[in-house]
Amino acid sequence: MMDAAPARLDVARVRQDFPILATTVRGRPLVFLDSGASAQKPRAVIEAMTRCMETAYANVHRGAYRLSELATEAYEAARAAAQRFLGAEHAEEIVFTRNSTEAFNLVAHSFGRGLLQPGQAVLVSEMEHHANLVPWQMLRDAGLGIGLRFVRVTDAGELDLDDLARHLAQGDVGLVSVTHMSNVLGTVTPAAAIARMAHAAGARVMFDGSQAAVHRAVDVRAIGADFYAFTGHKLYGPTGIGVLYGRRELLSAMPPFLGGGDMIETVTLEHSSWAAPPARFEAGTPAIVEAVGLHAAIDYVTALGMEAIEAHERDLVEHASARLAQVKGLSLLGAPQDRGGVFAFALEGVHPHDLATFLDRRGVCVRAGRHCAEPLHARFGLEGGTARASFGLYTTREEIEALAEALDAAREFFA
């Protein structure tokens, strides 16, 4: 590909990078439409992990020998890759966590207890994944006088910015923590506008980029994010590693989260002092091999180009919106203006679980349930859950066609 502005994704070639896409399920080709729950891994990621374990493995930060230095360099190179990927100013602003969930717990603990004041409130939205809700409930219930309030979601499935403004106007909001892209509605939220509103009201802002960072180029400085989280396994990377971005002044002012080795400066039996970020927030032996794998994943999507990935997804979303509209009895959850590759839906007369089982028999993998977003489902009166199809960079129009046909067949079967 000589000329590439913007590069188009050669999906057929891309699919060859993912060994699992060549496998079959009960003799049928795999149509994997659950990338929103976790994405498949390209060979580059698998091989980077293998190479690390076969040729350059040792614990990091500890040894005074070459192998350990190599491992440390690889680990810190992964941090630098995450820094570039998010457009962060400093590598020390990148903390490796287990996943997004831990990133929210870390901020709820260390920012929540360290920098929020009694009487202040955290503001999340009705469309949050439990990862960006339960840690704040636990903070609220810790008896520190920190409140928790909720920004409404419109019927179209968008963040209600007027409601956000109303909450901020109360003057007590210390942190706004909202998703950058809903894992149910697909809604991409106007992060920069939200950050401006939050900052104008004196609040800090955290974004849940678990979905967004997979589908769109993210620049935390352009957005104005104070914290930003994403999770490796959804970005075609390994399980067991996630990323928390936090602005340097904030991380530096925050007390630690977990205690143990590597996060300390000095330790006596009676007292410990803390290392500077990011070490302060990375207790114990980190997910070294997984960091190396995440680095490979970041390199992989960067080489394809986040713009090309986004363009491909926009094409899929457009196609899927049109095609799913033709499926009789199907109703989509939400109709956001800016949608990433996620569609949750109900099929008349067919419970989502029965539907998922039926589709699975045709090799079509979708998820059924409430997708760790129970309050959102309650908001839309869908306590029984929805089925959800979510796309990855390897998803094709043909797969969307296979889904649509299978939906028609399911309706007939269960009628």
């Binding site: 009960r26 419970h351 679980h353 028999r361 409430r370 029984g384 067949a409 079967f413 269960f414």
Partner: protein, 155 residues
Amino acid sequence: MSAPAGFEELRDLYQEVILDHGRRPRNHFRLDPCDASARGDNPMCGDRVEVFLAFGPEGRIARASFLGRGCAVSQASASLLTETVPGLSPQEAKALSARLREMAKTGARDDSTEALARLSALSGVHEFPSRVKCATLAWHALDAALDGVKEASSE
């Protein structure tokens, strides 16, 4: 029934009796008054079944009903339950419940009694591990109701 070709395995799970009970659940109301009741929740998927029991003079189950929401399998299983347990003593009902759960897990049909033969339609679920709980939810609620517990533990 115009199922597409190649879906024979699906028929193991969605046998006609399941589809039928799933579409038109029997005894789908709240027994009021009732002597015992309990709710079973599957938090993973939001399925919910509440089982109501009324006992006869010798302590046998006289009537059973349920309310709930969920997939065809969980609703059919609850519906079949309400048809099967009347006439049984609490011990017999719990033994039946244990057999049912065994069938759902292993797929072993059991035609030794009429009641078991009828319920054997649920044994097809064993090929679908993530669906086993759908088939057993109502039976957990039954056990809880017989034990005087209000909420079934989801195993």
